[in-house]
């Protein structure tokens, strides 16, 4: 059970847990701002994806523009998560602070989740800002039919990013090749996730893969919320998948941290 | 000829805030061929 201190009553522990999450999130945002890595993923990438998709295509209608903008936002959000949350744990390990987090009173998963949340929030905000500026520069019309629904979808996106960050982040507890692994994880999901590239373009076994990716359902929900009426079923599937990632991440991170402690592979940089 | 000859060597650094720091001030000494000189700052 994620807990900060077993002696406290449940309500107090929950409150402490949220406190830790927010502190770690803020800490991570400060750390990311101090290094330039975030610029590469949340500023360069959205511009490149948007220009490459919009410029050559003939259809520049608001509907098409919105579908592309949502696809780019989700693809970049995934790249930022795969890299941001993953590099959180990779840097913790490199600096040797991961060992201290695992030995600390506060459950390391809470720290990892909090930092992943900070990374996801900051990167998505920067990516959205860049997207907006680029769309305006290209005079590309987009529509916002249901802003409320879009906001809900966006919150789920950030939660999903942190949960996935914890899931793939646990890989970095054991491997020292985190950079290559996180770089690798970026493209399969962007390709098969049904965001910028419709999954029906792929032969059956591959197209089913996108069903397991929460971002594909968020694409469906966000596009229908922006153009037409929101598809709430897609949102529910996305939320279910996000919860599955979180549970999987918590379980996997715990097991891997235990294994690392048993093999003493934590300090083997 | 000496192995090492230092003739009033000075070295100052300008730090980030613009303040200057003098690490060496008119240092002069020499080390002969095959000689070992120990020094401490």
């Amino acid at each position: 059970m994620i807990g900060t201190d077993v002696l406290l009553p449940r309500r107090q522990r929950l409150w402490n847990g949220i406190g830790v999450l927010l502190v770690c999130a803020r800490f991570q945002m400060a750390e990311i701002r101090s290094s330039w890595i975030i610029i590469a993923v949340t500023v360069f990438q959205p511009i490149v994806f948007l220009l490459i998709t919009l410029l050559p295509s003939a259809d520049r209608s608001a509907a098409a523009g919105t579908r592309v903008a949502v696809g780019v936002a989700l693809s970049v959000s995934w790249a930022a998560t795969a890299w941001g949350a993953a590099s959180v744990l990779r840097r913790e390990r490199a600096m040797g602070t991961l060992a201290r987090a695992l030995a600390g009173l506060v459950d390391a998963r809470l720290i990892a989740l909090g930092k992943g949340l900070g990374a996801a929030m900051l990167s998505n905000v920067w990516a959205l800002a860049t997207l907006a500026v680029t769309l305006i520069a290209l005079q590309q019309p987009v529509s916002f039919a249901h802003p409320g629904a879009l906001l809900v979808g966006y919150v789920v996106l950030i939660a999903s990013g942190s949960a996935i960050g914890l899931l793939i982040g646990s890989v970095f507890v054991v491997t020292r090749y985190g950079a290559q692994v996180s770089a690798f994880l970026t493209f399969p999901v962007i390709l098969l996730g049904g965001m910028l590239i419709p999954s029906n373009l792929f032969p059956p076994p591959l197209s089913w893969l996108s069903a397991l990716i929460s971002l594909r359902w968020l694409q469906e929900f966000l596009v229908t919320s922006a153009v037409g009426s929101p598809n709430y079923l897609a949102l529910e599937v996305a939320v279910l998948l996000t919860v599955a990632y979180a549970v999987g991440g918590i379980w996997l991170f715990g097991r891997i941290a235990q294994k690392a402690r048993r093999n003493g592979s934590l300090d083997l940089y | 000829m000496q192995a090492i000859e230092l003739d009033s060597v000075s070295r100052t650094f300008t730090l980030a805030g613009g303040a200057t720091f003098t690490a060496l001030q008119d240092v002069s000494f020499s080390v002969g061929i095959g000689e070992v000189v120990g020094y401490s700052a």
């Binding site: 290094s35 330039w36 590469a40 360069f44 998709t53 290559q180 770089a183 970026t186 399969p188 390709l191 | -």
Partner: protein, 274 residues
Amino acid sequence: MAASTSTEATLAGVRRAERLWRSRQIIRFGFLQYLSANPPAIVLATIWPRLIFQTVFWVMLGYVAAGSDGATFAYVGAIATALTYGGIAGMSDVPVDDKFAGTYTRLLVGATPPTPVFFGRGVAQLTASVVEMLVCLVAAGLVTGQWRTMLALIPLLPIYVVIALSMSAAGLACASFCVGKRAEVAIYNGLTYLVILCCGALIPPGTLAALDVIGVVLPVSHGLVAVRSALDGGPWLAQVLLEVLVGLGWLALAYVLFQVQAARSRRTGSDSFS
């Protein structure tokens, strides 16, 4: 007189052999470093798959944007962008490795100046990126059904190698910008995305004038124009020579920048490599 000229000749010969041995050692050390950072298992498990997925993604994006012609156009360009992983990111890691290892001061006082040492050690990255390009050419070509274009590209591979060379020079030059600050990741990523955007790899030249203006001085642009023209049976030599010129320009820039870095660190004591 004859005796002295012959001894001079042998002396020059010895010096040349020594220089050749030295450059072989530097190149060999580069491979040692590359393999210790990227063991074969990691190359096969993460680097190649990532580049194949990336190439397929660009081709599919070309298809979504402009149908099958768009896909073919993107395929020819995506093969060149596959080179950016080794050519720019990998190449700029060479001086950055010295920054983190704190070994730059040794290069400064070495008999061989830093820039040739960096470029020599970069040959491993260059070789890896050419191999990666070939893997992407075949794998992505088959997966996206571009095998007819793939076969047509095979005789043009030497142009892609020229592109790889000019890109490595740019990768080295961009590393010297960031060595003083902690910005190396953003800078070589920035250059990578600039190349992907402005070099006519995925966006046809003429679509947006601003991109083409930037592309003129970047590696890949002229090389790709040569490849695309050769595919249509047109002239390609002039553009290849332009690509070589751009590469030499970036190499000269790298040399100058590392000299400036070295001089500045001697003057201010701020060893920009620490």
